[in-house]
Symmetry: C2
Subunit: 335 residues, 2 copies
DNA sequence: GTGAAAGCGCTAACAC
DNA sequence: GTGTTAGCGCTTTCAC
């Protein structure tokens, strides 16, 4: 039943495979009568077209792959939702794969591109260096989203990380804070680095001194947030506010503050980045810089599909900046 | 560069496509010399095999699809991690797709099975009725994980939901609670229904009365948890403990309790189900029934791959029960 | 409006 | 150890 082929259908209804194919793709004119016979045969045989054959022939799969460093982050999934929403009505399927921060797995997943198993890939983060990405982009359809790569001339959709960091810190300053700490990943992450640049620019703009002891660069891992806070709060002069480059770090920070017998939003202000769902669920709820995930997903896949369609023609490899916004909740306060 | 075919490689190195194919799959004996020539040509042309051709010919894709109702749940992703871990060294790729609780999208995703685009599907929840699943399982390789379907004779891996519910409520009773509420989805969800059955059996076993007003059946949506708590706490005699069929509902409940000016773990005990990462991050941390996600993922895909290999032979359509465990944290207390 | 036939890129008999 | 060749299931010219 399942392995009926188009040929079986043709035999069953006494028409040619060409005609069957035509009704399958309602491509050319087929008489009503023939169409019905085909449909009946399909029904009877429980036929379902084999896309391996179709895709091989058409040299396209209508599938977009989204890769991400980790799937624990609901943030990524929001972007995927945006991608899906755009693809759905346009006949594209989207599939996801997370590489668990293993560049080995990432490479393996990219094989789906080289394989021709997917028509394009959207990378929500990558371990590939710029040159490699540029090389890939020459031949394949790829795009970066939410985490750009310095020097990569590849279709990219991101927020202005530097400005986002600036705005976050500025909002803390406006609330009266003057000793503001920074918790981020190390500088090899473009987004973390830029958000730090924004942090520094804001301090400078408002003539606040930069204290090295208040700058904690580590990783994006949850644990880093708490560890950094522990260090910060044990300083002779602890900060009154801390800007974290991700909500996960911010949440970890809030947690640790609580463990230390203090209260985020009262004893220390905590600000994150991303606006993941959990920010609202926290007690206190977490202030943050919102990234418009759904819009980013829609935009990046829209441009990617355009590139795919324009195969052969000039590819769009621009970097699109989408607007962020500051969301103040309970974890920040006026001092 | 990218569209070099095996034929191009053959021409380039002056050997036949068969030989090239052989070194690609290191299937038969190929002389060292020839192998080198092939590799050189591949390198030179930047050749990458087209899997559409290969898969069509071999009638397999070595790809497993995991579908889930929503991707916001980190719980699902933990299972996927287990699946991935098992697949990785065995040459299978795993891809995910979430259907956002839309059965229409789910159907569309299942097309990848009919299409022959994937070799098997693992469903972490489904809107398909038992008969449909049984029918599908005859022809295709599918498996259910973490959410079974009553009456489906399909390979399934789940915890004992009834016993899990029982154990959760029993642990609350052991802590001295006697008015214990239930917050769950409606009975069309097999897991929610069974956990309620366990809840009822525990009450009965310990000779506690069942109060209908303490049983809140709604949905799995976050909001439902809070709404139920609001209702429960406005009763003349509110419960001292509440068992929720999911951590998401429990977290929502904890949140609402806080909003009402009360404290979970002090004024009311809250217990969830799943042990998602967030349970530990909450303040208070949330007690729960742990499902061994990684193990579930590994087991289900192990059995599924066995079914795929045994194509033609007898398929394993058993239901495997994996052990759960009770984790008590701050959201529960002795009364 | 319909059919015959070529061919997408690949693997696997089968020959030698 | 290597080459020839027949398909895998499908779409799409090109005839008629």
């Amino acid at each position: 039943m399942s392995d009926a082929t188009i040929k079986d259908v043709a035999n069953e209804c006494g028409l040619s495979v060409a005609t069957v194919s035509r009704v399958l793709n309602n491509s050319a004119n087929v008489s009503e009568r023939s169409a019905k016979r085909v449909h009946d045969a399909i029904e009877k045989l429980g036929y379902s077209p084999n896309f391996l054959g179709r895709n091989l022939r058409k040299r396209e799969t209508n599938v977009i792959l989204v890769t991400m460093p980790t799937s624990e982050h609901s943030f990524y999934m929001k972007i995927v939702a945006g991608i899906q929403q755009y693809c759905q009505p346009r006949g594209y399927d989207v599939i996801c794969a997370s590489y668990n921060n293993s560049s080995e797995v990432e490479v393996r997943q990219m094989n789906m591109l080289f394989n021709r198993t997917v028509d394009g890939v959207i990378l929500l983060g990558t371990s590939y260096p710029a040159e490699k990405l540029n090389k890939l982009a020459e031949t394949y359809n790829i795009a970066l989203c939410c985490e750009g790569v310095e020097g990569a001339d590849v279709l990219t959709v991101v927020v202005d990380d530097e400005q986002g960091g600036y705005d976050a810190v500025k909002s803390l300053i406006k609330l009266g804070h003057r000793r503001i700490a920074f918790i981020g990943a190390n500088d090899s992450s473009a987004s973390s680095f830029k958000r730090k640049e924004g942090y520094l620019r804001a301090l400078k703009d408002f003539q606040l001194p930069v204290y090295d002891e208040l700058i904690c660069c580590g990783t994006f891992e949850y644990e880093h947030g708490g560890e950094a806070v522990e260090k910060l709060m044990s300083l002779k002069e602890p900060p009154t506010a801390v800007f974290c480059v991700s909500d996960l770090l911010a949440i970890s920070a809030v947690h640790k503050v609580h463990e230390l017998g203090l209260e985020a939003g009262k004893d220390i202000a905590v600000m994150g980045f991303d606006n993941i769902t959990m920010c609202e669920m926290m007690m206190p709820s977490v202030s943050t810089v919102e990234q418009p995930c759904k819009e980013m997903g829609e935009l990046v896949v829209k441009k990617l599909l355009a590139n795919i369609s324009a195969s052969g023609g000039e590819k769009d490899n621009k970097c699109y900046i989408v607007p962020h916004s500051i969301i103040l909740r309970e974890s920040t306060f006026r001092i």
